[in-house]
């Protein structure tokens, strides 16, 4: 069962590793990212940040979709983290059962628009998210679990 899918440019870090994992009661974290599996420094850093008592699986996007589809993840209380809107889009395309998305942190860069304190979107990302919303995917913004859910469609 997927408890939450989060977009966070920092992937696994304090808010994610401690606050969210604990609050959700997740027993498995999936880091779905194309760079991390082949980047030893990033991979080790993420492994070191793993909270105790939780399984951590790192896969590229394609393998993540395959794993989700195959049903091997069903027995876990799964928490998925991706680093970009584009990766989230690919995941929802490849695995349409994914029906909600949490925007946690997307840093400001050239061309982005500030949507909330921690979420900045490029026009292209806004379009992808709009498409996801049209496909009945709930897209909400929350940094930490105690924050009030803000529906993206109300602030776009």
């Amino acid at each position: 069962m997927i408890l939450l899918t989060r977009v966070d440019h920092r992937l696994l870090h304090g808010q994610v590793a401690f606050s969210w994992t604990q609050n959700l009661g997740a027993d498995c974290i999936l880091i779905a990212n194309d760079d991390v599996p082949q980047n030893d420094v990033r991979k080790t850093t993420i492994k070191l940040a793993k909270p105790q008592g939780v399984k951590l699986v790192i896969k590229n996007i394609e393998d993540s979709i395959a794993a989700l589809k195959s049903g091997v993840t069903d027995k876990y209380k799964l928490f998925i983290v991706v680093e970009s809107v584009e990766d989230a889009y690919k995941l929802t395309q490849g695995y349409p059962k994914l029906k909600s998305l949490n925007l946690g942190g997307l840093k400001a860069k050239k061309g982005t628009r500030k949507i909330s304190k921690a979420v900045h979107l490029l026009p292209k990302e806004e379009r992808l998210l709009e498409e996801m919303i049209q496909n009945n995917i709930e897209v909400e913004i929350r940094q930490v679990p105690g924050d009030k859910k803000v529906n993206l469609k109300n602030v776009l």
Binding site: F18, S19, P145
Partner: protein
């Protein structure tokens, strides 16, 4: 019984670490900070007595910065008070874990011991940790 955590330190460490905790875990009204000696004429004994009086009806956990320091020593006078728990060695790993669980824990003493043990493991020399082999996990 209502539960409360007070973080206490020499200088602004207590309020500083509380702001870090809030950034990571969100706000928690059951936690407050006591920065000592930041104002002229600060009376530690009186401040501690006042705090202990205000919270006499609660289960109270005080986490101080330094074992053997004056702040910890002042709270030590109350160590035999029922439902009072004193921890020295304020650190973020302890706070993150403890603050997430203390409201619902059955026995606070057990939770404190267990959380302290885990938080000590989070104090690391990263140059060494980085070279350890960590197993790849699969579903």
């Amino acid at each position: 019984m209502e539960r409360k955590i007070i973080l206490a330190s020499h200088g602004k460490f207590a309020s500083g670490i509380l702001s870090s905790l809030e950034l990571i875990c969100g706000k928690n009204n059951a936690i407050s900070a006591l920065d000592c000696y930041t104002t002229e004429g600060f009376d530690l004994k009186q401040t501690v007595d006042q705090l202990m009086k205000e919270n006499s009806e609660k289960e109270l956990i005080v986490v101080t910065d330094l074992f053997g320091g004056s702040v910890n020593n002042e709270f030590l006078r109350y160590i035999k008070r029922p439902d009072f728990y004193l921890v020295a060695g304020l650190n973020l790993p302890f706070l993150i874990e403890f603050s997430a669980q203390f409201a619902s824990a059955k026995a606070l003493a057990d939770l404190i011991l267990q959380t302290l043990r885990k938080s000590k493991e989070a104090i690391q020399f990263c140059n060494e940790s980085f070279d350890e082999e960590i197993e790849e996990e699969e579903f």
